[in-house]
Symmetry: C2
Subunit: 188 residues, 2 copies
DNA sequence: GGAACGTGGATGATGTGTCAACTATTCCCG
DNA sequence: CGGGAATAGTTGACACATCATCCACGTTCC
């Protein structure tokens, strides 16, 4: 590509090296395509979306299938208004329901319904299978390890120091573990 | 995590191995956070979004700053209705304008305006800097190489064979190169 | 020339994410 | 006890992506 954008002599921005540029392009392209593919797969194979799936996983992962709204936001690393809207939509479809919290008049629980439980039980196996087929069947053990290390390094950078302060989200100690947890569920 | 989802004896789904599970969790978490961070950064530091940026890059990358609508969709690997809606919004904000195509009565061009050009010229440097700081400053040369190879392997799997046929998008030979191109602009 | 079919593109409905208020409750401190 | 600050959660406006549908034009082939 010819970069025609910044023909300025006084350009001081540190652009990417050619190697970095190729890697970045490959990554961006891959993650966009992978996200799109996984979203499509789950919504075609079942009646729920990736976001629904994420919420349902968190609910399924508790003993009584009930989680406080902001706790859910924290677990998923979502904004509170996002979780609020999303729970409202899921409630309308019967996947969850809301219950008042007795001990705290402000709070409310999100509770898994039977319909919600069967929805995720239907969706999870093919989703896990897809992740395995698209990602891990392509990679060697060393590459899997490298993927983890690279991801952790970048994630650490994103969530420490001045970066973290920019983030307007619920600070989560364990965000976006959603698919990983289900997909990797080893003892089922 | 205790997987309480599928306590079925007849479970046949091949779940992920523990190592794969950790890698997947790290990846999902990282890419979610990185996407969010880049989107926020670009829209805070400038008047455009990541999607606007992507469109503007493609326009900037041609000699006359004009691209046919579906060509744009192909370049970005977007659906045609997505590009149509998005161009409409960008036109409303003065970043681009549409022009009829003389040689094909059905077609139309998307044309970069002066305002669009200054918008991307304002947005690009800090975006490139952010990508470099968040991603490549964290990685060794070997890791950059690994990231590229991993991404390419997965991308290849996504765009070949039965996978590709599921995709309802414009088949692009060079999709999502957007940020990479700008961020890596070496000769500016 | 014209019917059939493909292509370029727009449109409206719907679901989703973000931001900025806003309400209601609880906490804290004098 | 009273009053401000923090917390839990909702709401509305808006930007965005997807899907199905539609229309205008072009191509092909008879």
């Amino acid at each position: 590509m010819m970069c025609q954008l910044f023909p300025y002599a006084e350009q001081v921005t540190r652009w990417l090296e050619p190697d970095q540029q190729r890697a970045w392009r490959a990554y961006v392209r891959m993650q966009g395509e992978l996200n799109a593919h996984l979203s499509r797969q789950i919504s075609v194979d079942s009646e729920i979306s990736m976001a629904d799936f994420a919420v349902l996983v968190q609910l399924t992962d508790t003993v009584d299938g009930r989680v406080r709204v902001l706790e859910l936001a924290r677990l998923l690393n979502w904004e509170k208004s996002r979780i609020s809207h999303h729970v409202a939509r899921m409630e309308k479809r019967g996947l969850v329901r809301r219950e008042n919290c007795g001990s705290d008049g402000r709070g409310s629980f999100v509770v898994l319904t039977e319909q919600g439980r069967s929805a995720i039980e239907e969706a999870a196996p093919s989703h896990a299978e897809t992740v395995r087929a698209l990602v891990f069947d392509q990679l060697s053990d060393a590459e899997v390890e490298a993927l983890r290390e690279i991801s952790e390094k970048i994630f650490t950078r994103l969530t420490t120091g001045e970066c973290a302060s920019v983030v307007a989200r619920c600070d989560a100690d364990d965000p976006m573990e959603v698919v990983a947890e289900e997909s990797g569920c080893p003892e089922a």
